[in-house]
Amino acid sequence: MEKEKIKGLKQILKRRLNRPLRYYTDTCTRCGICYDSCHAYYGIPKKEYSPVGRAEVVRKLYKKYTRLSGLLFPYWGDATKFSDPVMDRVYEAAWSCTGCRRCVVNCPFGIDTGQIMGVAKHLLIENGTAPEELVMLADAAVEKGKSIDEFKEGYRHVILDLEKQVQQKLGLSSSEGLIPMEKKGAGIMYVGLAGAHSIVNPAIIFNAAKENWTLSFFEAVNFGFFAGDPEKAQFIARRIINEAMALGVKEVVIVECGTAFRILRALMGKLPFKVSSIVEVIHRYMKEGRIRIKEGAVSEAVTYHDPCQLGRNGGVFDEPREIIRKVVTDYREMTPTREQNWCCGGGGGLVALDNEDFRIKTGKAKKDQIVATGAKVVVTACENCVSQLQTIKGGYGLDVEVKYLTELVCENLVV
């Protein structure tokens, strides 16, 4: 490996060594309690897919380049230098981790392997071996942020078509203004995704609740975060923050996308508006009587998959369950559940990569959970989770239907 490249990689290591990383690099006792807390290890039981196995790849680099012990007696902690084989191990570690943080819950010290893998992903970008598809998607999102005015007109035309679908569902005479955009002083700015379902269903719900809302020009998904590029991740998130501030909205509501929700709610510091998930908003409308749902309308056995970033990392556990229990008569909880729920294996950008075989194998824990419930419908509230659950369904030939929570609500909305 060339000296210049090693120099750049060392700079990344040092730049990323913030306070939490110092704790996480020094505290781990390699007790191994976290060993099988990862869904990837459950599916493919090899050291490299255990949280400690992954984190050690990066920790050994930190030992080598930022610790006196690594300089004086590297054998002591098995400190390793940058090399091509080491970077291959970094890749395997980073791109087998979904950042679900189940290991944080199961580590006696609360070590966040997801944060350590954030450094690993950043190293891969510097090394030029980050997944190209994610880097390109992040670049496209950044480009859209820089020249949003060029996109606006085309996007308005797309929205006109979607408004007709909302009109049809609500049985209204006109579709005008059903999906408002650039509405100053709106109570809510909703941030969707590229897919029509991520806009139409929430729009139906907002209109049914007679909400004063507006739609963001941007997609909530943050490919900069997935790729592991902190600068692009910041830029992509800031586009939404700036738009919300310019419109003076009180609340930003995030589509069914766990990562987008967590980034805005937990990772961007204090913001001048409230950040909610669409799930929380639906629950609020239901409690306030602003929308009505056909109670007990679904008699099939239904289970709920907690998206990791919404549940374990966002604290939204009860709201989706209360919504589902209202609609279905046979709700079945997965085991384990809530903070101990298994990740589906699609988060962290993995679902966007060409790795279907790997995701089917590492989705085994989720498959076992679904099968054990005997449910015919799996409801969840995250785009990545839905895609990955579809992959698991196909890979294992499961006889289940996978649904978005908003889809379930819209199908059973009293209009």
Binding site: Y23, F109, D112
Partner: protein
């Protein structure tokens, strides 16, 4: 030659070990303080109890280990309680503390059980690492530190047990007063190795015990033992 080594281990090396331990830990804490804070929150949910209670409960009761491996948890708890008693016991070898003698006892606390528990638990931690999957995730530090710790504790335990239970008809008894004279002289920076220690048939073992303890103290800032400080900080992040 041996006299010099004995004196070096008993006096200058002790100061060196304490300096490296304190300096190393302070350096680590200073590096933490000057490092960038994380701008957001690294919380996981649910948060069932207030933060300080939650951090203390996780740090002292180690529920993650209890849930996963109850035998391992038992050894973790036994080790840490015994280690606390070991620390208190060594405080009493410096001088008499009335608050420690609330329940009157002969120095050292535990009548020898502390050393035995520590020896067994450290051996368990060491042998556990010989087995897969822990063997694969272990690095030389993990084995070497436990071996040094085992030897230190084993010798210390031997010194205590032989003195307490009159091995050799009391010939190996080094009086508590001699240890107090030695350790308090170190603290007062007027070091002496009293005759009660230097003339004991156990003097060689005392020297080796202190030599190994010095090595263990010097290793601490370079090992995972810093979890004794950082565990609270990282657990705090999880709930912040």
């Amino acid at each position: 030659m041996w006299d010099k080594f004995f004196y070096f281990s008993m006096v200058p090396m002790v100061y060196l070990a304490v300096a490296i331990l304190v300096g190393g830990l302070l350096f680590k804490l200073i590096m933490v303080l000057i490092s960038k804070r994380f701008p957001g929150s690294l919380s996981v949910y649910p948060k069932r109890v207030p933060r300080p209670i939650g951090v203390a409960a996780e740090a002292f009761a180690v529920p993650a280990a209890f849930k996963k491996d109850k035998v391992f948890w038992l050894f973790i708890i036994a080790f840490h309680i015994a280690f606390l008693l070991l620390f208190i016991g060594h405080l009493e070898l410096i001088k008499e503390f009335k608050w420690i003698q609330v329940i009157p006892h002969e120095v050292f606390l535990g009548a020898g059980a502390v050393g035995i528990v520590l020896t067994i638990t450290v051996l368990y931690f060491l042998f556990r690492r010989f087995k897969s999957p822990w063997r694969e995730i272990s690095v030389p530090e993990d084995f070497l530190f436990l071996i040094f710790l085992f030897l230190t504790i084993f010798l210390g335990s031997h010194l205590h047990l032989s003195a307490r239970y009159y091995a050799g008809g009391g010939a190996f008894d080094i009086p508590v007063e001699s240890y107090r004279e030695y350790l308090s002289s170190l603290i007062a920076l007027k070091p002496v190795v009293p005759d009660g220690i230097a003339n004991s048939p156990h003097y060689v073992l005392v020297v080796i015990h202190i030599f190994l303890a010095n090595l263990v103290l010097m290793m601490i800032p370079f090992t995972k033992v810093v979890h004794m400080v950082f565990a609270f900080l990282s657990l705090n992040l999880k709930r912040k």
